[in-house]
Symmetry: C2
Subunit: 206 residues, 2 copies
């Protein structure tokens, strides 16, 4: 049985964006059942939870074989279980890993700085933060071109990239990037995404 | 044969820190030979290179089977080839992946903001950026405890974590974290690191 850790409570603005969404979405796409453990503020700080998730964050993951943290690592672990999330060949799987790292290390840090810092810094620095983000988004948009997915089919890479980009979409920061906005819309329309999102939201009302 | 892409030229302050160092170090630890392609400014912008590395960055990687980008994905790919970089069991390999993602997504973005933004923002924001970094470093230091490595032996995870932390060490930003400074010193003392570093530096003088 698979267990994932999610937060029991987050502020309204974070609901629908917490990173356990990536795992829920991947598991829905793969048709794999899972249980959710809701972590409150006290358990988050406990030594016991820190053994599972060293930074006291979510998500964390456990199955009969492994105990993991970091959404990127967990999504790749789930992808290795299901043909619906990655190609069967080692080469294709390695390319999915490239894109998952790209989403989390080449795009997300710049997206998060844009979202959280741009209104707290000088005009000059705001321009630099925006330029860096746009540089990466332009490269991503060029690479995507007229394709529907990062590789030649939907994979786990699209799950992670979409969750990074939809935070920008929520700030109307993709308006200059119609291909990326369409990519987010296309992936958010998937039934597995909708199910994962509504399950995350419902858990905050448990 | 393995080929990696590295920059032909970078400013002095970046020499010894460019991310192809992670691949060189991993390949040295594994005892695997490789070739280096040096990428100049013109090729960096070319469609041909963007096909290999969509953001025009380094490193990129190619062997007889796969073509990859993103240092985290490449180091994990190399780790899967060598017992010297990861345990043989799937559970241990997945834990190495967790730590590689932690280095690149839970530590590095905060480290990079501390390094590049702290002197360009208000005192209040500087405090917030520093507090966020210290929160993550305290958690990492607590988890490491008196162990030498992130897992119970040297793995690819230590390569990526060390390269993230040594940029902080170079700014004297680990002075409050003696366990992490000792961890960086311990890993930098490895012959494979020293060889990788001197090879990267030598390539700038080719």
């Amino acid at each position: 049985m698979i267990t994932i850790a999610a937060f029991k409570w987050v502020p309204d603005f974070a609901r629908g964006f917490v990173r356990d969404l990536r795992l829920r979405w991947a598991l829905e796409e793969a048709g794999i059942l899972y249980e959710v453990q809701l972590i409150d503020g006290e358990r988050q700080k406990s030594d016991e939870y820190r053994q599972w998730q060293p930074f006291g964050q979510v998500p964390a993951y456990r199955d009969d074989e492994v105990e993991l943290f970091e959404s990127g690592a967990i999504v790749l672990h789930i992808a290795a279980m299901s043909k619906s999330l990655a190609p069967a060949d080692r080469s294709g799987q390695a390319r999915v890993a490239s894109w998952v790292f790209a989403a989390l290390n080449s795009i997300e840090p710049h997206a998060q700085n844009y979202i959280h810092l741009r209104d707290a810094v000088s005009e000059e620095l705001k321009k630099a933060i925006t330029a860096k983000l746009h540089d990466r988004l332009n490269a991503l948009s060029d690479r995507l071109g007229d394709e529907d997915y990062l590789e030649n089919r939907f994979t786990a890479a699209d799950i992670v990239m979409t969750t990074v980009l939809r935070e920008l979409a929520a700030e109307s920061a993709l308006s200059g990037f119609p291909r990326l906005q369409a990519y987010v819309d296309r992936n958010e329309a998937r039934p597995a995404f909708q199910k994962a999102l509504s399950d995350q939201l419902a858990d905050f009302d448990r």
